[in-house]
Symmetry: C2
Amino acid sequence: MTLSSARMDSHSPITVPVPLGDRAYDILVGRGLIESAGTRIAALGARAAAIVTDEHVGPLYASALTASLEAQGLRVCVITLPPGEATKSYASLEWVCDAVLAAKIERGDLVVALGGGVIGDLAGFAAAVVRRGVRFVQVPTSLLSQVDSSVGGKTGINSRHGKNLVGAFHQPSLVIADTALLDTLPLREMRAGYAEVVKYGLIDDARFFAWCEANWQGVFAGGHERDEAVAQSCRAKAAVVVRDEHENGDRALLNLGHTFGHALEKITAYDSARLVHGEGVAIGLALAFRFSASLGLCPMADAERVEAHLKAVGLPTRLSQVPGGCGTVDELLDAMAQDKKVKGGALTFILARGIGQSFIAPGIAADEVRRFLTGEISA
Amino acid sequence: MTLSSARMDSHSPITVPVPLGDRAYDILVGRGLIESAGTRIAALGARAAAIVTDEHVGPLYASALTASLEAQGLRVCVITLPPGEATKSYASLEWVCDAVLAAKIERGDLVVALGGGVIGDLAGFAAAVVRRGVRFVQVPTSLLSQVDSSVGGKTGINSRHGKNLVGAFHQPSLVIADTALLDTLPLREMRAGYAEVVKYGLIDDARFFAWCEANWQGVFAGGHERDEAVAQSCRAKAAVVVRDEHENGDRALLNLGHTFGHALEKITAYDSARLVHGEGVAIGLALAFRFSASLGLCPMADAERVEAHLKAVGLPTRLSQVPGGCGTVDELLDAMAQDKKVKGGALTFILARGIGQSFIAPGIAADEVRRFLTGEISA
């Protein structure tokens, strides 16, 4: 079973269009794309580019990308930040904005985010606010960022009140997802990103979830299945984003697993040694399905199938698997209440009637959540 | 001569609509509007409001505005900042965003900017980025902010590389311009704001400039002329903003006097003891007309008439009037090159063929500017 016939041969990239009117852009997916990135980026018409990257990714790819851009006549500067979630801070935002301004990046020029979700979110936010908006290109280097954070235009930093609470909607002008870059990704990061791939099947595509169950080993090994999984995830996310760019409605479906997941990230103090985003999402997906089952909305067999697949790829699915503990029920509820997807004081969850049948459930009473979590913690 | 018949009687406000599609909003202009502000703001449908103000304005009006909002059932918090341009900083942005989040302002709630341009720009930027955008209301308390910064959705802070270099386009949901608040405004601030009023006449409305020459004393004294001047300025700015919301073209006309003005503000280190924005604009307007005349574009008589009116109201018109000096020609040019209205390395000026006949002049050579400024400094 193949997911798409959009690719002419194994050497040309898969193109996923994101048709957002005058903010439309393409996501290119394929192996080895970074080598031709300069040509593709230069075609956007800029005179200069500021590459924003981190100390892990920069040494691997920044010089190749710089050379590729300079070969097209662009003036290039590289801005390197420490790796890790702590970089999504006000201080980093100031640092990047001032560095982009110091590099005399003008309105027609570009910011290029070369890194994972942290770099993409930070560089995208900086691009959104420097000179009240310059264009930016995403070159995501992790599976998570290729399938999630580089699609949809959400950018931002963390506040002491929670993750991603300060930011902007700012669409990239181009996304270049080179799947060969994932060959050097640590297995833990690969698994974490894969949780978001699975999520797209669980939201509204039971066929894709079944494809994942059958093909996940190819995704991890780097075969054509990887390109297809990335492209299909981008297509799924793009479809939702096009329906609801500014998260007033349907886009909330993408938060399946994230209300629980963000709470766990908060409780573990965004310490990636304990829990990375995708692991929080994996536990969150399993919880969302078990919560749906406990409310009588979804067959328990579907919740078990979700858990079985996440376990098969080596992802956590239980609160007891949070290293250092997941906190008390009250701490979890409090962390969820601070999440930005609160409206009018009630909790909004994404629940499911089955695999591929998720829906937005506003106004879930805290008592229901408390009862469920109490059972989970004592399980 | 009256400018408008939109007002039914002297007690109902003048409404200036800003028809920006789904971002459309009204500007209300009139005496004593702050007393009914709660009703008007509550009509927007929020449950809570964070009032952002400064230590000068807050003690005068924050409690009345709070009471007016609370009487409509809104939960209100007040966030107070130090007055002055230095407040438009990254540190203040962080402080306001975190305070708004601590007050549990949700997506449907409001930020209310109660103050002059500094507070409006900062609070508007915070509203643009908290939760990736919450609505905001402007209650401008200075003439400058009533006629300029509260109209058009430009928000932002200053970078060490220049003024307003970091920010967002974020339209308010409502602007309430209570002209009675200007009764307590220091004369210097009144004059500075008036420079922007004059600017609208100079851009494309010779009739309004003539009206200003005849009626400026009524504007300063607080008669109906003040309401009309504010409303007409808002109409003029709104017309330009509607044509070009994101400053890709015509909106640059609003920068008449500002390329010089911003450079002078930079050189005086944004020290309001030396020069406030409107004074920089007044000198900038006079310079723009003399520069246009020196290039043979505009009759010298028009440049002299502009200078005469600015002088009549007590505004500076010469580089020699910058307290502490205006720097060297090189310093001025350097400050202009860092201004964000640079495109492709060339300087863009707004020049004029006469009063009310301004136009965008891209690609002005630095040598032309140098020659002109050398003459001005030695004059």
